[in-house]
């Protein structure tokens, strides 16, 4: 799922501004559409950061409850509504990770066993290596890599979500990949 495919996420500004107005008035059809369009991406984002189905489910659902509470204060600035939902999700994920502390799983072992790869052990090790390295990155780099390569969003879509220019996203991606590479020990490269 991409930001573009999220029908209500990147419509013309006037159209989305009208949707926001209706949402503020409690229009259930607008909220339902937003939910149906954005929930899958938010779930996957939360899952990629929390590595647990229940947590991802909670966060994705909680995003909309928080949004309902905050819509009165929300000022539409022309950015896709998904950007706002993503911001809420990011905040909820950070809070949940702080609360979980060191008990947060690096990878969902159950998930890995559900989707076995040809070389299971190597995949699991690679997964753990990369996730561990990701945790050591700057949040800005980690978010960029998550959105680009775990959620498969295009540079344009990420730019819309983060409120940056597309060219800036490519530059940031280069720096983020370089930083991740440096975080992976040289003697572990053969697992990748």
């Amino acid at each position: 799922m991409s930001v573009d495919s999220v029908g209500g996420v990147a419509p013309p500004i006037e159209e989305e501004a009208a949707l926001v107005k209706r949402a503020k008035a409690g229009d259930t059809s607008v909220w339902s559409d937003w939910h149906d369009q954005c929930y899958p991406l938010l779930y996957r984002y939360a899952y990629s950061r929390l590595n647990k189905h229940e947590d991802a489910e909670d966060v994705a659902s909680q995003v909309f409850l928080e949004a309902i509470k905050a819509i009165g204060r929300y000022r539409y600035s022309g950015r896709p509504i998904l950007a706002w939902f993503y911001g809420i999700a990011r905040h909820l994920v950070s809070r949940r990770r702080r609360e979980a502390g060191k008990t947060a799983p690096i990878a969902d072992v159950e998930q890995l066993s559900i989707h076995p790869a040809p070389h299971d052990e190597d995949v699991i090790l690679s997964n753990i290596l990369v996730r561990t390295a990701m945790e050591r990155l700057k949040p800005e780099h980690r978010e960029l890599l998550t959105l680009r390569f775990l959620l498969d969003l295009s540079a344009r879509e990420v730019a819309a979500l983060l409120g940056k220019k597309e060219a800036a996203i490519y530059s940031l991606q280069v720096r983020a990949l370089g930083a991740l590479r440096r975080e992976i020990p040289d003697d572990s490269w053969h697992f990748l």
Partner: protein
């Protein structure tokens, strides 16, 4: 091969853009063959990241979340309607509270200033809220009359009598009462009260209490039904002669 500097970053960014467009690194390598090693390493990292893609959201989770959302919207709508209703009631209650405070404040201010001119503000408030259209300053007339009597007499019994009469006359002067009070049923043709003090001529015991000095100046006691058990003003007889003549008491 390690390349450094901002130039490398620019070229790699350009390669990333080309890779997104074409889906392979051929064009990038054609442009920048020196980036071969760097690109290979980065593609490995990207491959590892791509292997960690999260699963799709289960449809049951999405349906459940949708239900929670809709019920939350309904609750929020009810809350909003409740707040609006509360605001309307609150406005009325607030207006009444302000009015009450204003009236109480005016009366309190009057009391603090010794009663002088106090009814003016109260009257203003009452007039403002439509309780009375116009009310003369009845209370201040009484206090002014008393003050004048004090100033016009020497200390002693004479002053007491003068003050008593002045207070009585001013208090019973119905012309300074609000129109509503003046025109109340049974009040229109009422005779003015006779405030002449029984001792005004200097002789004690001209009234009901004559020959009973212990009762002079005190509230009438039981056994005198004329008094109806209510205390009269100091020095004022229970039944003034003029009213006794009319058979009013």
């Amino acid at each position: 091969m390690r390349l450094g500097g901002g130039d490398l970053e620019e070229r790699l960014a350009e390669c990333s853009r080309l890779f997104d467009e074409t889906g392979d690194v051929a064009r990038c390598l054609a442009l920048y063959p020196e980036l071969s090693e760097e690109l290979t390493t980065r593609l490995d990292v990207i491959g590892s990241l791509s292997a960690m893609k999260p699963p799709e959201a289960p449809s049951a989770s999405q349906s459940s979340s949708r239900r929670v959302l809709l019920s939350s919207l309904a609750a929020e709508g009810q809350k909003r309607r409740g707040i609006m209703g509360g605001l309307a009631i609150g406005r009325v209650a607030g207006a009444l509270a302000v009015l009450t405070l204003l009236a109480a404040g005016a009366m309190g201010a009057g009391a603090a200033s010794g009663g002088v001119n106090s009814p003016g503000l109260v009257n203003d408030v009452l007039s403002a809220v439509g309780i009375t259209e116009h009310a003369e300053n009845h209370g201040s007339d009484v206090s002014e009359s008393v003050q004048e009597a004090i100033e016009a007499t020497e200390p002693g019994p004479e002053r007491g009598i003068a003050v008593s009469e002045a207070a009585c006359e001013a208090a019973h002067d119905r012309s300074t009462l609000p129109a509503g009070a003046q025109n109340a049923p049974g009040q229109e043709d009422r005779e003015p009260k006779d405030c002449a003090h029984p001792n005004a001529d200097g002789t004690p015991g001209a009234g009901e209490g004559a020959g009973k000095p212990e009762s002079a100046g005190k509230p009438e006691a039981t056994g005198k039904p004329e008094s109806t058990g209510k205390p009269e003003s100091a020095g004022v007889p229970a039944c003034p002669p003029a009213r006794a003549a009319q058979g009013a008491c």
